[in-house]
């Protein structure tokens, strides 16, 4: 875990406003060399603005950005050793693929022979080895973004910035490129900062995910931790497919916390920071709950359970989603479609069961992390 004051790339208390409320507020982040960090958040949370400040296309109102200890806050874009892959295709249409990729090299007067070698290597890296003489308009979306990646990487930037580069592509291409990106990162051991609103993308590629909202950090940690131990209701709702039910913490022991949701008592994992009487939410991941046929199957020991009726059944492909009516609330549970689905038709009685340690309990906040590293909690109403 990097300490912002000594990391490779430091973003220190950066604030930026465009003539209204701040888009990025007192933002602190340190990125280690060779790390793949994702900035994850809803539209308008300031992640793109932050990225642009690192690349130099915007300047912060206050704060600083340091690279390898040097202050680059006021350095103009074209002088920064940082390159960006943009969301839209920004390949130059009047140049072919090779000329696009060597653009940065030519600007620095890299000798022709050396440049063409570097270009060849870059195109091989993105698996487009024979595309050098192709015209830009003949490329598909995925190919174009790969060329854009090559064009950025060929300059050996100290930090590579990626602003939702895959969001305009079809799902399959997106998945393939996500894997390719991760492999490229591993091979180059570069420092990547990736902006996205797609949580699956962030979780699958990053070493560390920084969840943002309204210009500040909500939680920053490794993907698994983000998924299994979300720090707040915001993160729990934003990441993963879960049922996030607000309630009040009633009591707890060292392993389990008991939450009252609409009067119903439910057991979840021991909350790290909430106490009795606090407003919390219990998170039941749709794949973590088990469905048992009502009146037929018994609930195993130690599991918490609720009775309900099957509402709608949705076949999604690899899984089947069940919308279960549980005492006035709707719970989404999913099951691999390869399993036996008998007894789970619409209208059937079911029992929903889960192990308490699989159900995190989070505080009902959407507050920002302070520089001190400890989350700052302000009670808010249920969202």
């Amino acid at each position: 875990m990097s300490d912002p004051s000594s990391a490779y790339l430091q973003i220190r208390s950066v604030t930026k406003a465009f003539g209204g409320p701040a888009v990025v507020e007192d933002f602190d982040l340190g990125v280690d060399k060779g790390e793949f960090v994702s900035l994850l958040g809803p539209s308008g949370c300031g992640k793109t603005t932050l990225l642009r400040m690192v690349s130099g296309l915007e300047f912060p109102d206050s704060g600083a950005i340091l690279l390898e200890g040097k202050d680059i806050t006021a350095v103009p874009t074209h002088k920064r050793p940082v390159n960006t892959v943009f969301q839209r295709v920004t390949l130059f249409p009047h140049l072919n693929v090779r000329e696009n990729v060597e653009f940065g090299l030519r600007l620095r007067h890299v000798p022709k022979a050396e440049a063409s070698g570097l270009v060849r290597d870059a195109l091989e890296l993105v698996q487009l080895p024979d595309f050098g003489e192709r015209a830009v308009r003949t490329l598909s979306g995925g190919q174009a973004q790969r060329v854009a990646l090559a064009r950025a990487l060929v300059n050996r930037p100290k930090v590579l910035l990626l602003d939702e580069p895959l969001s305009a592509l079809d799902l399959q291409i997106r998945r393939e490129l996500q894997v390719q990106l991760k492999e490229i990162h591993r091979e180059l051991q570069g420092t990547f900062v990736y902006v996205t609103h797609d949580q699956e993308e962030a979780l699958s590629m990053s070493d560390r995910v920084v969840v943002m909202d309204k210009g500040c950090i909500i939680q920053a940690c490794a993907p698994e931790e983000l998924y299994r131990a979300p720090g707040s209701m915001f993160v729990a709702s934003f990441v993963g497919t879960g049922n996030v039910w607000p309630g009040t913490l009633v009591e707890h022991d060292d392993r389990v916390s008991v939450v009252s949701v609409d009067g119903v008592l439910m057991r979840g994992a021991r909350s790290a920071d909430a106490g009795p009487g606090d407003k919390v939410a219990i998170v039941l991941r749709s794949e973590a709950v088990r469905l048992l046929r009502g009146g037929v199957e018994a609930v195993p020991d130690g599991l918490c359970s609720l009775r309900g009726t099957v509402g709608t059944v949705l076949f999604v492909g690899p899984v089947i989603n069940y919308k279960i009516d549980v005492g006035g609330r709707r719970l989404t549970a999913s099951r691999p479609s390869s399993e036996d689905q008998s007894g789970l038709r619409e209208g059937d009685d079911v029992v929903v069961a889960w192990r308490p340690e699989d159900a995190p309990i989070v505080r009902d906040t959407a507050a920002c992390l302070q520089t001190s590293g400890a989350p700052d909690h302000t009670e808010k109403g249920t969202t």
Partner: protein
């Protein structure tokens, strides 16, 4: 489906209108090759003598040369000034941007008579001698809005993220303009330049007011016609026409880039 067996009124009407539009010009071109000085049928035979007369006439030749010079200078200035201004109003957003765009299109809305007179009046008050330079100034303000319109239309469609990408890769502002922006919008600028030249080449009203002792090609046609019936005017007119059409046909190649 019903088959229509209507008499093709609209088609015939359209053809007649087109004939009406083109006939006079075709006649002028035709008669520039007429053996006699007559302006009516029958056609007496093919000759190039009027063209030889024109080429030998110092009046006509100096007028043609003047038109060329004025046109080239006007276009050079228009393209430079117009492109810079078009970049300013499309790349940046600032208060009064839209008003400014309208303002720069204003000269196209005013009658040539008014502009010519206003300029002449100013030149006389400021005691500026009338010459081909004053004509160029008049042409410049007349032609600029048209070029500006072409340039802004193209730049409205230009993704300025491309410029940011160039800067990201290490290009300073001037390099970005030279290596990225201008090459991409180039064809439209060329189309605009050709239109600008064509407008200047044909311009007679403002020229009439702002010229000194010289003549431009349209002006020499005008004054010759007012004074006498000179058959070589047919030939000169055809040359004038040729010039305009060359630019139009040339512009067509580049207009495709404008009309995505």
């Amino acid at each position: 489906m019903r088959r229509r067996h209507h008499f093709p009124w609209l088609l015939i009407f359209t053809i007649l209108v087109f004939v009406f539009l083109f006939a006079p010009i075709i006649l002028v071109v035709l008669f520039s090759f007429n053996k006699t000085a007559s302006l009516t049928f029958p056609f007496h035979g093919f000759t190039l003598r009027w063209y030889r007369t024109v080429l030998a006439s110092p009046t006509f030749m100096s007028a043609i040369w003047a038109s060329v010079r004025v046109g080239l200078v006007t276009v050079a200035l228009t393209v430079t000034i117009g492109t810079l201004a078009a970049l300013a109003v499309t790349r940046y957003s600032f208060p009064g941007r839209r008003a400014l765009r309208t303002f720069l299109l204003l000269p196209a809305a005013l009658p040539g008579l008014f502009m010519g007179m206003a300029l002449l009046s100013l030149f006389s008050v400021a005691q500026v001698r009338l010459s081909l330079w004053t004509v160029t100034a008049g042409h410049l303000v007349y032609v600029l809005p048209y070029f500006f319109l072409v340039a802004t239309t193209r730049l409205d469609r230009f993704d300025f993220l491309l410029e940011e990408a160039a800067r990201d890769l290490g290009a300073g502002p001037w390099t970005t303009l030279r290596r990225v922006t201008l090459p991409i919008i180039g064809p439209s600028l060329i189309a605009g330049a050709l239109v600008a030249f064509s407008l200047s080449w044909d311009e007679v009203m403002i020229t009439y007011f702002t010229i000194g002792n010289q003549n431009t090609l349209p002006l020499v046609i005008y004054s010759t016609v007012k004074q006498s019936i000179d058959p070589s005017v047919n030939a000169v007119s055809t040359l004038l026409l040729l010039g305009s059409l060359i630019f139009l046909v040339g512009a067509r190649r580049f207009v495709a880039d404008l009309q995505q």
